[in-house]
């Protein structure tokens, strides 16, 4: 729908300004759509055509207006046009190259628009002709490859990438875009890598290159061998991987900055609120949508890199002091946050926020995630949040990533965004201590847990969240890392989650298997109870764990009653619930052991309300008479695998990204007047 509207709008604009004249190029297009071979009367027809400024709208609408039978008639001419476009790409005359690229864009789009339901083969036939398709596409890809890798104009390279993006997103479902089969055979992967490895070209085209790569990787991902997947997974050239990380980093930073600006705006006085309201009437809507779509594509690229390429994990921790970034040329279209930081280097105020000076992809990503996860009602944001958690899952499973997450020498202050809530004050950002990065991850998880207990319960996100915590704990247990983290916050968040599940049992059970989540949560406690000696930071923290369990014993009691009730009934949750009853054995043992002790202590000492210290004292002196049961497989977890569980999600995600990219590309490709001017002056 939006496509049609846009085109209509654009048509109107051009037609109003150019109505009286019929451009020469339009006449030439008409000739192509006539029956005759246009070169018959004018042997220099094709030469002349590519010297003419392209009228994309006309060409596209013409292609669309062609109906079934006509197609047969003009197919030869269209094939010829395609052929000459590809040939023109090899021309020295840059104007011709530009025009050919744009014409190709129009061709791909127009033909697809027309034949939405047609099979890929028909489209290929119409564009290139079956017999020649392979050769044509080979030529096209080779030309594009050499244009992208050559020393030519940057605008030309940018246009090449736009053409490729246009081609890749021309169908809603990327896997149905049969032409891409030729892009698989004639890989432009190396050209993309080259763009990413070079500092200046990365600055100008990095974003498009990364998005293109992310999309190509998702072509028939689950059905066939996609060479882009294979190649991406074996890249080990650090400058290239860094380049990719840098592009993602900059895009996410930009989003974070925009968000922060907006947030500050909203918190400003009445006047600023007013102006922002007025301003938002014009731009905010478009702007916001733009940023969301941007980030989904980038996030997908980040996911593919993290998931497919193990070497990329090191890039996550790669620090980027802003000095280095400031020296890289920045693309004219996207203002870069670093750009505006660099001149402020000498500003005495600025260095007070250390995050401005040293950041890395992981920190930026965590901040981004903290923003996106705040509000998951919007579908785009929900998708982003889910993808963020999937990426974190991959990171938490990776040994190297875990190593630097827990590195005691790499301390950072990470200012996560926290949702403003009625019952808590906004955290004072300045006081966040510098800690290993894993603390920020745990903070983020805790934050999510406490802020999303709502009626429209995001069960899927909660499961991922709890599993990420579990994976981190497994690593800590295995490596005996005693993280100085305020575990208490996590415990109370988890207990509150259990409480929420209990009080909304009926509504939740209609949609979700709450027992699975409850089991995971209880098993987190079991990790602490049975293996606490291997990863807790102090002996006091073990006492505190017991204190917290005993203090909140009612939640566990109620949970036990509930799961017992469900497991004794016959129903679909019987088995799931009985698992939880078994998992609760140690928690219940603790409660049953200490509660009488505490009560008798209070009775003996005639105290009605025991202080925390007194309870801890009771706990400390009564360990020895408590026996716990060792449970199986507490430190085992199911590894993340994209297929088959996540396949549907990614299919949908790629589809929505394709739509967004297509929308953006069409806008950008059409505004190439500047580019034409550039070349007309050169030649």
């Amino acid at each position: 729908m939006s496509q049609v509207e846009k085109r209509a709008g654009l048509l109107r604009r051009t037609s109003s300004s150019k109505k009286p004249l019929k451009e020469k190029v339009v006449l030439m297009y008409d000739e192509i759509f006539a029956k005759e071979d246009p070169a018959k009367n004018n042997p220099r027809f094709w030469d002349e055509l590519f010297l003419m400024k392209v009228n994309l709208e006309y060409l596209e609408s013409k292609l669309e207006s062609v109906d079934g039978e006509e197609v047969q008639r003009i197919q030869d001419n269209i094939n010829s046009l395609f052929h000459h476009c590809v040939q023109a790409l090899g021309e020295e005359h840059q104007i011709k190259v530009v025009n050919a690229l744009q014409t190709l864009c129009a061709l791909f789009r127009g033909v697809h628009q027309k034949n939405k339901s047609a099979s890929g083969f028909d489209i290929i036939n119409m564009l290139m002709g079956f017999d020649k398709a392979e050769q044509r596409m080979k030529d096209l890809m080779e030309r594009l490859d050499s244009l992208l890798c050559g020393d030519g104009s940057e605008s030309l390279k940018s246009l090449c990438l736009k053409l490729l993006l246009c081609l890749v997103t021309v169908t809603d479902n990327i896997s149905q875009n049969t032409i891409l089969e030729y892009v698989m055979i004639n890989s432009i992967f190396e050209a993309i890598l080259q763009i990413l490895s070079d500092v200046s070209s990365r600055g100008q085209h990095g974003y498009d290159a990364v998005v293109l790569l992310a999309l190509l990787v998702n072509y028939r991902k689950y059905e066939s061998v996609n060479p882009y997947i294979v190649k991406l997974s074996i890249v080990d050239d650090e400058p290239t991987l860094d380049g990719m990380g840098m592009v993602v980093h900059q895009a996410l930073t930009e989003y974070n900055r925009q968000y922060k600006d907006k947030e500050e705006e909203n918190q400003g006085g009445f006047f600023s609120t007013l102006t922002s309201m007025v301003g938002s009437m014009f731009i905010a809507d478009a702007d916001e949508k733009l940023s969301v779509q941007t980030n989904e594509a980038i996030l997908l690229a980040l996911y593919e890199a993290v998931h497919l390429n193990r070497n990329f994990i090191t890039v996550l921790a790669q620090s980027h002091p802003e000095i280095d970034i400031a020296t890289t040329p920045t693309p004219p279209t996207r203002p870069h946050p670093q750009h505006h930081l660099a001149p402020l280097m000498n500003n005495p105020e600025l260095p007070l926020d250390p995050n401005l000076q040293t950041s890395n992809l992981l920190i930026t990503f965590l901040k981004y995630a903290s923003i996106v996860m705040q509000d998951t009602k919007d579908e785009h944001r929900l998708n982003s949040a889910r993808l963020c958690l999937i990426i974190l899952t991959c990171i938490a499973e990776d040994q190297y990533a875990d190593a630097f997450l827990h590195d005691d020498n790499m301390n950072f202050r990470v200012n996560l965004h926290r949702m403003p809530m009625r019952h808590r004050k906004k955290a004072v950002d300045k006081n966040i201590p510098s800690r290993p990065l894993v603390c920020a991850v745990l903070d983020l998880m805790v934050e999510f847990i406490v802020t999303h207990m709502m009626k429209d319960f995001p069960m899927d996100l909660y499961l991922r969240c709890v599993q990420i915590i579990h994976k981190l704990l497994c690593y800590q247990k295995k490596c005996r890392i005693r993280l100085h983290y305020t575990w208490r916050e996590l415990w109370s968040a988890l207990i509150n989650l259990l409480k929420f599940l209990l009080s909304n049992e009926t509504t939740l059970l209609a949609k979700h298997n709450i027992f699975h989540l409850a089991l995971l949560v209880v098993n987190l406690f079991n990790m602490f109870i049975t293996y606490g000696d291997t990863f807790l930071p102090t002996s006091n923290s073990y006492d505190e764990l017991y204190y917290e369990i005993v203090r909140m014993h009612q939640v566990f009691d109620n949970l036990y009653c509930m799961v017992l009730r469900v497991s004794t009934n016959t129903g679909q949750w019987k088995e799931a619930a009985s698992k939880v009853t078994h998992a609760l054995v140690n928690v219940r043992a603790i409660i049953n052991h200490f509660n009488p002790k505490i009560e008798s202590y209070a009775a003996v000492n005639h105290i009605s309300q025991l202080s925390e210290e007194q309870v801890l004292e009771v706990v400390r002196s009564n360990y020895d008479t408590l026996t716990l049961k060792l449970q199986d497989g507490l430190d085992q977890f199911e590894r993340y695998s994209e297929q088959p569980k996540e396949a549907a999600f990614f299919k949908e995600l790629v589809r929505s990204i394709s739509l967004n990219v297509r929308k953006n590309v069409s806008l950008n490709t059409l505004s190439q007047d500047v580019l034409l001017k550039e070349f007309s002056t050169i030649s």
């Binding site: 080979k138 049969t178 089969e181 698989m184 055979i185 004639n186 689950y222 059905e223 066939s224 061998v225 294979v230 997974s233 074996i234 080990d236 050239d237 193990r310 070497n311 090191t314 620090s319 002091p321 280095d324 260095p351 007070l352 250390p354 000076q357 040293t358 890395n360 499973e397 190297y400 875990d402 590195d407 005691d408 790499m410 295995k478 490596c479 005996r480 109870i529 049975t530 000696d533 291997t534 807790l536 073990y542 006492d543 400390r620 360990y623 020895d624 008479t625 026996t627 716990l628 049961k629 060792l630 449970q631 199986d632 507490l634 430190d635 085992q636 590894r639 993340y640 994209e642 297929q643």
Partner: protein
């Protein structure tokens, strides 16, 4: 015998004809060192050694032996030289008496004369300087110098003498000769005096410069590190000149020449082995050109060329992964990688200085270094290291910012791979940080090398490769092998293993029970086991890093390094100083090293630790850190103990072997540094500048205030050296044996130092030339230094002096005041 010897010593007074055997052989070797005959001198006259006419000069027949007391001889030589030097001051007159005096009253003199056959003088023939000097030499009366020549040719004539002669002689011929003679000394010996040589080159007259230049140029051709060393020192020591003269000065020109890299490798030659130095022999090349012509290059040479070019490009970008770029990179990169490396390190220091807090500095440092890592390995090295190596990685998370008020010195650890020769050995290939994972991507993915034909048209479904279980199975957490430290706890019985590995076997249905008390107990036990470290303090990040035992740190870093498995892996560390002038430090290092070798030679068990200094410019440089040592300030701050109690804590009770040896080390090092502090007038001796190593030695660092300079304060630190009651307590109190031992060591050390005073003075004196350094402020620097050796005192008087110094320092109120002052102003305890 006696007569014979007399005739020799009388030689200079003759007209040169009375002793033909001498002049025949000696004059060609002196005046024609560059002709072919010199290298193949047939030695027609005296045999190399021991031949009656020239061999040994001695008084009695009983001493007719080749084994002479080197010490005595050397001293004698020096005295002779001293006097000869005086005589040469008046070179226009034939000062017969002076020379006679020089020879006459020296009864104990024994000199072994060696023949020039062993003195290989190599020279670049077309060097205008040497031609000129050769001509000049012939102008002078050769007879006048021939006896001197004998000394020069003698075995005892060492670098120290050569340098002092070069400095003191005003005779161009002599200077030119010594310039040539430098070629025959071992490289390492000359390298020690490199600052002196270059300072003379910069600041003394043309003749000295002309004499030194060929040697420097020759060495630069041979070695990249020598080239850079020279360039850095030339820059640093030229900086005190007025800016207008500096630009056109000789030193600046030579520096430019070196840095322009026109001094390319000279030819196939075993570079590092002084023994393998073959004399230059023009007969081989046959042409008039010097033997550095390409025609002489051997296959070895071409090999080294190739490897030299595999190196960093000028922007320090690693090109190893891209062979095409490499091969196109040619010669100009000879010096570039190392210069870029150093420049990067300095750039980091400059940027760190702009950040306000230690925490920010540390964070920034780590991130900057991680970027630096991307450009490694490369043909770069740490000049402070004692062996050849290539830097492969900087474990960036280990770097720490050191405590300094306004500058940002920092300490980095550097992983290197030892190699034969850093110039010719090939640069190690890069191993990615995550080497373990590199196996996965390649092996677990199905072959993707499908041909286009196979793929074309075949849109059929191909088996899915994306089997995550397989793809990710290489290194997941589940399979992670963790080496757990041996647990020595008793309560860790058979149950304890359950906390390590969970039971996954499904057969055992029997439930396993554990006691909660055990878990709790294990937790506290394991926490107690972690070794005592200083607590992490964001304001003093270096304390933790420095407290960790070096061996431990090496092991830890090695484990985490992708290069750690290589047998030639080594860990080095270096302090990078940016904004500090290290020239005084270098001077102090040289004096310390000279004194160390004097004490070693004299078998006085004084202990000092000269740490290497690299001067990069007048305001930057690098320092070799003292490993396993923390400052007294850090000791006191973190342990909150007195020094003696800290010793007891670290080494055990006073009667144990460990404590006693630590105490002995403490005393020996105290004595050494007390003398150093006295002789060099080292000031600013607060506890932050005194380190304590793991064996109990103290080590003084920071020689920013020596000789004539002292910190501008209220006349504090008037005592000779720092000797607090805490120090004396560690020694066992002022009445203990160890304290007496301390004083005795000082006396012995002073006597030994006095004996070789000239070797110390010479280092300082030459560096004074043209220097604006604060340590040379005023006119009495040298006189004061000389006086502190107390040449005139008897040993009894010296002992008295030492007692006075020690008493004075102990009673000194100012030391205590100074510590208080430092505590108030800099927070140093």
């Amino acid at each position: 015998m006696v007569v014979q010897s007399q005739s020799i010593w009388r030689k200079p007074t003759d007209t040169g004809s009375s002793s033909p055997s001498l002049s025949v052989c000696s004059s060609p070797s002196l005046s024609l060192p560059s002709t072919p005959s010199s290298s193949s001198c047939p030695a027609p006259g005296p045999a190399p050694s021991g031949t009656p006419p020239l061999g040994v000069i001695s008084e009695g027949p009983g001493e007719l032996s080749l084994v002479i007391d080197a010490e005595v001889a050397q001293r004698a030589c020096q005295e002779v030289l001293q006097k000869v030097h005086i005589s040469l001051m008046y070179q226009n007159r034939v000062d017969v008496g002076g020379s006679q005096n020089g020879a006459g009253p020296e009864p104990a003199l024994s000199v072994t004369i060696v023949k020039p056959a062993q003195i290989q003088i190599r020279e670049v023939e077309d060097d205008p300087g040497s031609v000129k000097s050769a001509r000049r030499r012939q102008r002078h009366n050769p007879s006048k110098q021939s006896w001197l020549l004998r000394l020069f040719e003698s075995k005892l004539f060492d670098v120290s003498m050569a340098i002092s002669y070069l400095h003191n002689s005003k005779e161009p011929g002599v200077q030119a000769y010594i310039g040539n003679r430098l070629f025959s000394f071992p490289h390492d010996d000359v390298d020690f005096y490199l600052p002196q040589l270059l300072n003379m080159y910069i600041h003394m007259d043309e003749d000295v410069g002309d004499a030194i230049k060929p040697y420097v140029v020759h060495r630069c051709r041979q070695s990249i590190s020598f080239s850079l060393q020279c360039a850095w020192l030339l820059g640093a020591y030229s900086s005190d000149m007025h800016i207008s003269t500096q630009r056109h000065s000789r030193g600046t020109k030579l520096r430019k020449l070196i840095l322009s890299d026109e001094l390319k490798p000279a030819g196939a030659r075993a570079r590092r082995d002084p023994l393998a130095l073959t004399p230059f022999c023009p007969a081989v090349s046959g042409s008039g050109e010097h033997g550095l012509s390409p025609s002489k290059r051997t296959h070895q040479r071409s090999k080294s060329d190739a490897t030299v070019s595999i190196s960093l490009s000028s922007n320090l970008k690693r090109t190893a992964s891209n062979p095409k770029v490499e091969s196109s990179q040619d010669e100009p990169v000879r010096l570039a990688p190392q210069r870029e490396f150093i420049k990067s390190l300095m750039g980091i220091g400059k940027r760190l200085a702009t950040l306000p807090t230690k925490e920010q500095k540390t964070q920034r440092l780590i991130s900057e270094l991680s970027l630096l890592n991307h450009k490694l390995p490369a043909r770069v090295w740490l000049p402070t290291a004692a062996f050849d190596h290539h830097v492969v990685r900087v474990p960036h998370t280990q770097a720490v910012v050191l405590n300094s008020k306004d500058k940002a010195p920092y300490l980095i650890y550097v992983e290197v791979l030892e190699c034969e020769n850093f110039e010719t050995s090939s640069v190690p290939i890069r191993i990615p940080e995550n080497r373990i994972r590199s196996t996965r991507s390649v092996e677990n993915l199905p072959d993707c090398g499908m041909t286009a034909e196979q793929r074309a048209g075949s849109f059929s479904t191909v088996p899915n490769y994306d089997n995550d279980d397989e793809a990710w199975s290489v290194d997941d957490i589940g399979e992670l092998q963790v080496e757990l430290p041996e647990l020595h706890t008793n309560s860790c019985d058979n149950i304890s293993q359950f906390s390590v590995d969970s039971i996954t076997s499904l057969e055992s249905k029997e439930p396993v029970f554990i006691a909660a008390g055990d878990i709790r107990r294990r937790l506290s036990e394991q926490l107690a086991q972690t070794p005592t470290t200083f607590k992490r303090d964001p304001e003093d990040p270096s304390a933790v890093a420095l407290k960790e035992p070096w061996e431990e740190k090496v092991r830890r870093i090695r484990e985490g390094s992708p290069y750690g498995h290589l047998p030639n892996w080594r860990l080095l560390s270096v302090i990078v100083k940016c904004g500090d002038d290290l020239r005084q430090e270098l001077l102090a290092f040289q004096v310390l090293q000279q004194l160390q070798s004097i004490w070693e030679q004299e078998r006085v068990p004084l202990w000092i630790k000269p740490y290497k200094i690299l001067v990069l410019s007048a305001d930057s440089g690098m320092i070799e850190p003292v490993v396993n040592a923390v400052s007294l300030h850090q000791v006191k701050k973190h342990s909150q103990l007195s020094l003696l109690d800290y010793f007891l804590q670290e080494h055990g009770s006073p009667t144990t072997e460990a404590f006693l040896s630590a105490q002995r080390n403490f005393v020996q090092s105290c004595a050494g540094y007390s003398l150093i502090c006295y002789l060099l007038q080292v000031k600013d001796r607060h506890n932050g500048n005194i380190l304590l190593d793991a064996e109990g030695h103290i080590i003084h660092i920071d020689f920013g205030f020596i000789l004539s300079s002292s910190p501008k304060n209220l006349g504090f630190e008037t005592s000779a050296f720092k000797l607090t009651t805490e120090f004396v307590d560690v020694m066992g109190g002022p009445d203990g044996d160890m304290f007496n031992y301390y004083k005795m060591l000082m006396l012995q050390g002073l006597i030994a130092a006095r004996k070789h005073m000239d070797r110390v003075l010479q280092i300082v004196e030459i560096m004074q030339q043209g220097s604006q350094l604060p340590c040379f402020h005023g006119s009495s620097t040298m006189r004061g230094l000389k006086e502190r050796f107390h040449m005139s005192l008897t040993e009894e008087q010296l002992q008295l002096l030492v007692d006075q110094l020690v008493d004075g320092s102990m009673r000194s109120l100012t030391t205590k005041l100074y510590d208080g002052f430092q505590y108030l102003t800099n927070g140093i305890m």
